[in-house]
């Protein structure tokens, strides 16, 4: 593994499964380690985030390390006009590693170019989010592994291998254009054999909100129900994502724009019927699983959570353990 974690491209097969074995170890024995004692992790979340930030912070602290940093940009040196490069260069004087979330694609590469310490890309615009893709893949492999006692016994587990991923049929359901987690996971799956990727794309068209249509929104659905049911019945994994409104181009409905937010409020009922609902579960294979990187809004009904194939909370928890494994291997 290289010094920085910027993209899934830099991971080779053996890196992936080594990391997965270390993640297994964290699940089984993590609470007994103090591998980050005396280490300080700089957490720079310059774009809104809570999940990834909380997951990394918990990972650091469960290993006995500590964090400094901040969330948002409004009260910061950056508000005084400081460049990202200067912010990173300065922070790298104080800490042992930096976890960076940024709204611009490529920001983590710019950071890595000047930093004196390793950079972990925790999401850069509609670019990549490598640790999310890795935890998604870990969850997939973990759930497909045939040894169902892997995590229950506190002893050497059946290691995850190619066998647990090859041949996977995955259905991406949601905003597959702007969700960086989808981008990164697709790249990562590209390393494996016999992977089938299917898509159901949900989005609004920009015309919907420009008045060209007399003010009435057009909901584009790149699906027909029959095809969706066929896809669903074949999928090993259904990977659901929300509409990434904050990443839509200017002129589209943008969540951070209050006028557009009103538009959204007005028309949000329209995509209710395209949400993934409990009634869709009957088409799903018995051993399929449902994943979602979270947060969720209208695209997945919480009534689905009670189905045992829904693994979204386990997926979140796995993320913390995988990040523990990654931090431990980078810092010790």
């Amino acid at each position: 593994m290289s010094k920085h974690i910027l993209s899934v491209d830099q991971f080779k097969d053996e890196d992936i499964f080594d990391l997965f074995n270390r993640t297994d170890d964290m699940l089984l024995n993590g609470s007994s380690y103090s591998s980050l004692r005396g280490k300080i992790v700089g957490m720079l979340f310059l774009e809104p985030s809570t999940r990834t930030m909380s997951s990394f912070a918990a990972a650091v602290k469960r290993l006995g390390g500590d964090t400094i940093g901040w969330s948002g940009t409004s009260h910061m040196s950056m508000a005084k006009g400081e460049s990202l490069e200067d912010t990173i260069k300065t922070m790298s004087q104080y800490v042992d590693i930096i976890v960076l979330r940024h709204s611009e694609k490529g920001a983590s590469a710019r950071a890595a170019a000047v930093s004196d310490v390793p950079i972990i890309n925790a999401g850069d615009g509609d670019g990549e989010h490598p640790t999310q893709a890795l935890l998604d893949l870990y969850t997939i492999a973990d759930e497909r592994n045939t040894d169902k006692n892997r995590h229950i016994l506190d002893q050497p587990t059946t290691p995850l291998t190619h066998r647990d991923i090859d041949g996977l049929k995955i259905l991406f359901f949601g905003d597959n254009k702007y969700a960086r987690t989808v981008n990164s996971l697709k790249k990562l799956l590209g390393f494996f054999e016999g992977i089938s990727m299917m898509e159901e794309n949900l989005y609004f068209e920009p015309e919907s909100f420009t008045g060209e249509n007399g003010g009435e929104p057009i909901v584009k659905q790149e699906w027909d129900k029959e095809n969706f049911i066929i896809n669903l019945s074949q999928a090993d994994v259904v990977y659901i994502t929300r509409l990434q409104k904050e990443r839509w181009p200017t002129g589209w409905h943008c969540f951070s724009n209050s006028a557009s937010a009103n538009h959204y409020a007005k028309y949000k009922h329209i995509n209710k019927y395209i949400a993934f609902n409990a009634s869709d579960l009957k088409w799903l294979k018995k051993d399929a699983i449902i994943l979602h990187p979270l947060p969720r809004t209208d695209e997945m009904n919480p009534e689905v959570d009670s189905d045992k194939r829904c693994k979204i909370w386990r997926q979140a928890k796995n993320g913390m353990f995988l990040r523990m494994a990654l931090l431990k291997s980078l810092l010790s």
Copy 2:
């Protein structure tokens, strides 16, 4: 004690005094404990707070634990449309316990319904704030206890009992309608015998700001000075609260509304004369005490602080020790 700490209703007598004994122990020996080593507390302060947040955070860290979380909602997953339930369910994958402050009554019960870890209600709207009520009661019992060396000697203390609370005469002075600390403390005092509760209510009427009265505010004072002096001279405890402007119904003067804030700025001189001032101290019994959950604005003059009957800072400090005791008993 139940798993979650949502309301003072759930505390029985023996729970209260057990917690008070543990609080004594924290005051005497707390710094020698590392009971929360390796534990992570999720601090979700979705409504503005600093005092309760700081008090809990200090409590966690004095016991060797650590915190993750955030304050406010603007930069968060919740701004992307996530439900409280999903936020709690996710956070509960990462942490050992969650401390929740929220602007809506009942939010902590909603959280407890989905959380995988215990929830501590750190204030929900104009609902409850159980740890504040408990620390208020601890301070009252502590100050009324006749053994004045309780805290000075580092050895077994005289435990607090019913005797230190029964028969209490307490005067609530301030916004008794919207201060949740008053709600919770009154409930808690309801478990004891011979309690006299008196009230002096300070508030603005909504008509004041709707123009129905020609633009002139009416300050409603449910008091007459003579009655106030009689109450004051009988009280063992004067419990002062500020005007909870942020909890007033829509249409009332609301602190978060800038137009209304101007109104408040314009008319705030009007309640100057109803503040509790040093000149009121002469009516107070020699062994009475003055408490205030803080923050304070105009309702209590800082000149009162230098009187030895003013225990507001000790009250704040007690809060940290009581929260240490509570966290230790929930987590170890």
Copy 3:
């Protein structure tokens, strides 16, 4: 040293060099200390800051301590109308020391007057920023010390003395009127002998933006290029600061005012040519050094960083070690 750290005025010669020796020790052995184990530092950054906040937080955590606190004022008790004095008095019930950044001159003295624990002034308006001045002076003395192995060998170093500072020629380049770091450093240098202080002042005149000049800004430059070159060629230290737009009087261009920010955006090209550029380096003495308290905007070109005389990142790192030394001596 007094209990509080409010101003460089309170430091005597022996205090300064004692602190510098302790800073040397932190550089060499700091990571092996746990001097702040069990200590909690209250970080109240009521004015935007990231650098100083991060530096102090890293210092605390590298010594095994922990922090509580917050940044900004919008979501806080202070937004409910609480006074600085009450905020400090309360926080001092929970923590062992308070680090305070505030937008008003004299705020740290007000805090010290009521606090139950020591206050460290981390910058108050255009007043002082004593730890910044001390770290600047440390960096100057460290770089001028003739024993170039001071930091390389993990053994007793050549202690810094008056000899490393006396006779210094320093050129202040930037906003010397409003930069509090310049104020504090000048005061501190006043304790030494044979110091030459030169100035190049960069600022906008208020008339520039009041329309008195037909809307055209006047850039006042108190310099002529020839004089600048002479100063530069004599300086041992060039101390660069950015235009402190957030401290300009009302009526001047103010960064926090969006109308003025537009003005700034419109006219910022004007001070491009007064920035310190790589082409200026040829006038600089071979053993001179360039310092900058950061953050930087247009007044110093990043192309300067690659010159070995640029010590701005080392200066930042020294700051963390000096703050470790200060905290250790105050708290243990």
